[in-house]
Symmetry: C2
Subunit: 249 residues, 2 copies
């Protein structure tokens, strides 16, 4: 309701609608699905994300950068050629602000990173793990909003995506491609979104934060309950989703 | 990230999954669209909402009640017979908490209701008004998330939906039916959701709050940007949506 208060006070008109928007075209050929790309192509896409984030961050008007992908019409894609997008905003939007605030409060009260703590627990319990590599964990998060929602997190604490090394990008490419392949083998052509949550550039360094990539397959529709409450009904338990994805190579 | 912190601390398992869920069947005949119902039928449905809310509130385990409708498969409806739903939760979910907090902070700092202030401004400017009756205003909100998002608000300050009188329900029925008819005449059969935001029952009275009904037509897909940021791209300005709805009787 921050917007509503600004509107009611009549101060909303003063803000200019500025930002930056880039489209990352992921292959020269007319490929439709990221899962069809080779590992080296996906690594090049991830490296391009990082390079563009470093470049865009130089402009101090931008307080946050969101990299995301819409694949398939039902996932909101308006182009069919395999692509992803980068948007830089003059503010920190609600989802990123809430996640950063939660991570900061956890860090301040417990003295350790929220995401590192979750990773330690998930690696020990294994029920929600999809895959584990040297540098990354692929898991279905405990309070998953969507059926088969799957996150990829670096094991090493790293606030910013663009801190990744060439080796990180290469291994992340393998993890991401393997995860999309599992989903495709399970469901066939599947519309999905992913987003990269990286610490905002406003007021950095946010050393308490831990970047991650959230994959959201479009197997269900957000409806009145979800839009009205911000809570999500998810008919597939993350343990079940993880078990099925582990069983699908 | 409240959930994530509870999970990381290992205290999440302790909470039982309790709540109440009711389905309101809106007509004895197999009608598919609420806009096809007669005014008196819709008034009976709205009265039923209020009566069920009063009844459900007697159980002090529930901290909030959400009444909502999903019409059409793309809006998440799994039943086609005209219906709506009521869910009572043992907590105040994020969207309702955020709206209540915003309204409370506005009230505390300005000494007046946020929604009454918005209504005064909207009635004066008229650009976003769809209709105005003796008791209600129908408008496209200033920071609309969705194309043709339309809200109905009582002109009289009223925190709780279930405080409505029989005359309020009758007039709201006319407003709601007329609005759905405008949308249907404009777009044909249109999947949509609506939700009623009424003050939470936890810690009442929340005298600063002002109930309202939010109609969300499904003309677009939330995609990676929306899920990742919590901000919304809306290609139809609310002034344009309101102008088109006013022109469609």
């Amino acid at each position: 309701m921050g917007n509503a208060a600004k509107f009611a006070d009549g101060i909303f008109e003063a803000r200019a609608g500025i930002g930056t928007h880039e489209v990352i075209i992921e292959a020269p050929d007319h490929v439709l699905a990221m899962a069809s790309l080779e590992e080296r192509q996906i690594a090049a896409v991830l490296r391009a994300y990082g390079e563009r984030m470093l470049f865009v961050k130089k402009d101090k008007r931008w307080q946050s950068i969101l990299v995301y992908k819409n694949e398939g019409r039902e996932a909101g894609a308006t182009l069919e050629h395999v692509h992803s997008q980068l948007i830089a905003l003059p503010e920190v939007p609600r989802e990123i602000m809430d996640e950063m605030t939660g991570a900061r409060l956890f860090y301040e009260s417990r003295g350790r990173c929220l995401f590192c703590t979750i990773l330690t627990r998930e690696i020990k319990e294994r029920a929600r793990l999809v895959a584990e590599t040297e540098r990354f964990v692929v898991l279905c998060p405990y309070a998953a909003r969507f059926p088969f929602e799957t996150w990829i997190l670096p094991k090493t604490h790293m606030p910013y995506f663009e801190q990744c090394s060439a080796d990180d990008y290469a291994e992340l490419s393998r993890c991401l491609r393997a995860t999309l392949t599992r989903l495709t083998r399970r469901f066939g052509t599947l519309p999905f979104n992913y987003v990269i949550h990286s610490a905002a550039s406003a007021g950095e360094p946010h050393t308490y934060y831990h970047w991650h990539l959230e994959i959201m397959p479009k197997l269900s529709h957000a409806a009145g309950f979800e839009w009205g409450s911000g809570s999500f009904m998810n008919p597939v338990a993350p343990e079940e989703a993880a078990r099925m994805l582990r069983a699908t190579q």
